[in-house]
């Protein structure tokens, strides 16, 4: 059985390493500030005991006044998982750091989020639309999207 690590416990461990990096933590997830995302992700990937070598999925949710990015991390070695999140309060030009340098599996998923949600990933090698065509107006998964019909 994959053990879901508690976000609260993780927050306690992170506090010493990365002060003031956590927005919120709960039993289910850990929400960090986006400027710390890359470093914290690296910490979880490289620290023995965590070894989150597998990035299961990335997605984004539009909550109106902010976007939430959800990363499902898994360690195949220890069979435990963690839900890592970050938030982006910018709406016109939202940018978060890309995790392609850590997990290449993020490549298409980040492009998908850019395409459908309009969040740019800083450091992604090929940041362009993946499903829709060049010249498509808007980002359909945003709650305020309308295709004019």
């Amino acid at each position: 059985m994959t053990v879901a690590l508690s976000g609260k416990e993780m927050a306690g461990k992170l506090e010493a390493q990365f002060p003031a990096s956590i927005i919120e933590s709960s039993r289910a997830s850990l929400i960090v500030k986006s400027e710390f995302l890359l470093r914290i992700a690296w910490y979880f990937k490289a620290t023995p005991g965590f070894d989150f070598d597998y990035l299961s999925s990335i997605t984004a949710v539009d909550y109106g006044n902010y976007f939430e990015l959800v990363y499902h991390l898994v360690s195949l070695e220890h069979n435990h998982s963690l839900v890592l999140k970050t938030r982006c309060y910018e709406r016109d030009e939202p940018v978060v750091p890309s995790l392609v340098s850590l997990w290449q599996g993020a490549d298409f998923q980040e492009r998908e989020i850019y395409d459908l949600m309009g969040i740019r990933f800083d450091g992604h090698p090929n940041m362009k639309r993946i499903f829709l065509w060049d010249g498509f107006q808007g980002h359909p998964l945003r709650k305020d999207y309308s295709d004019g019909t």
């Binding site: 059985m1 994959t2 289910a28 070598d53 597998y54 990035l55 299961s56 999925s57 997605t59 949710v61 539009d62 959800v70 499902h72 195949l76 069979n79 839900v83 997990w103 290449q104 599996g105 993020a106 490549d107 298409f108 998923q109 998908e112 459908l116 090929n126 639309r129 993946i130 499903f131 829709l132 065509w133 359909p140 998964l141 999207y145």
Partner: protein, 367 residues
Amino acid sequence: MALKTEHFVLNLGPLHPSTHGVFRLRATLDGEVIVDIEPVLGYLHRGIEKLAEGCTYKQNIPFTDRLDYLASMSNNLPYVMAVEKLAEITVPERAEYLRVIMVELQRIVSHLIAVGTFVQDLGAMGTPLLYMFREREKILDLFEMVCGQRLTYNYMRFGGVSHDIPDEFLPALAKFVDRMPGFIDEYDQLLAENEILLARTKGVGILPKDLAINISASGPVLRASGVKWDIRKADPYSVYDRFEFDIPTGSISDAYDRYRVRIEEMRQCVRILRQAMEQLPKGKVLTEVPLKLRPPAGEVYAHIEAPKGELGFYLVSDNSDKPYRFHIRAPALINLTALRQMLIGWKLADAIIVFGSIDICLGEVDR
């Protein structure tokens, strides 16, 4: 005198007989050697995630059917599991067993098509694929018995399955389960030691273990790279912890290993089916749930080992009758990430084989 050469771009697809749908590759070639490739996706992007936000939870089950249309049953399951987790619905035991039976039959169907089209791309025109369609039709008949459809079943519901199985189902299933190992042996005789198959797949499209993990590959692609990771064992859902089965893995991580893993997985499916038939309890198949289900606000992620890999549904509920966010973790899309790394430096002819060995379904890749 040195000849002046330059790279050129070759377009493959989106309508191409060996792209298994509407997949497109933009390949940069140096003569016949691939220098770089770019998969161009989205030719079947139907916007399911957006449409699902406008439909009630129950109305969304048919959308899941049309994701990986070769494995509709497997797509139903993680979605209903996610909603059940969110709304805390219990599932009767008989329904759990029926789900396992359907999903394992579906895995056989999906692997049959994967192997059949893979060898067809290799040049085995017709024969193996027609053999595999013969068995596929038998399974589709079984599905038709339980839900009346051949391809898009819409069989699973929150709290169980839509119908109990008819009386003639179990004898037909028993007959199929008895004969299937013989059919798999037949494929093996035709293919496993076929010289052309060996020459074209052995050592081709190698995906090393650490790269496979880094690239978030899942399913047979990950296991063929030697990683013993199967969600049915690692994070058992439904009643999978009650069955005995093995996880076949590869050692060389090439296209041939991926083919072997799929063939071996079919044998394991038969094993699971036998045990599920023996243990199948009597009782209800559906818990009553309100027609307009309003799960409590919150979020949930449920995943299963679908034929193509880890299929997950991430749902966010705001306590209304429609999901606030409906995200699908599509295994085929993420497995495709590996394609570029596997192909650079190989000949164009190998591209088709490596691509076929990943086994994608565009409905799921593009959604």
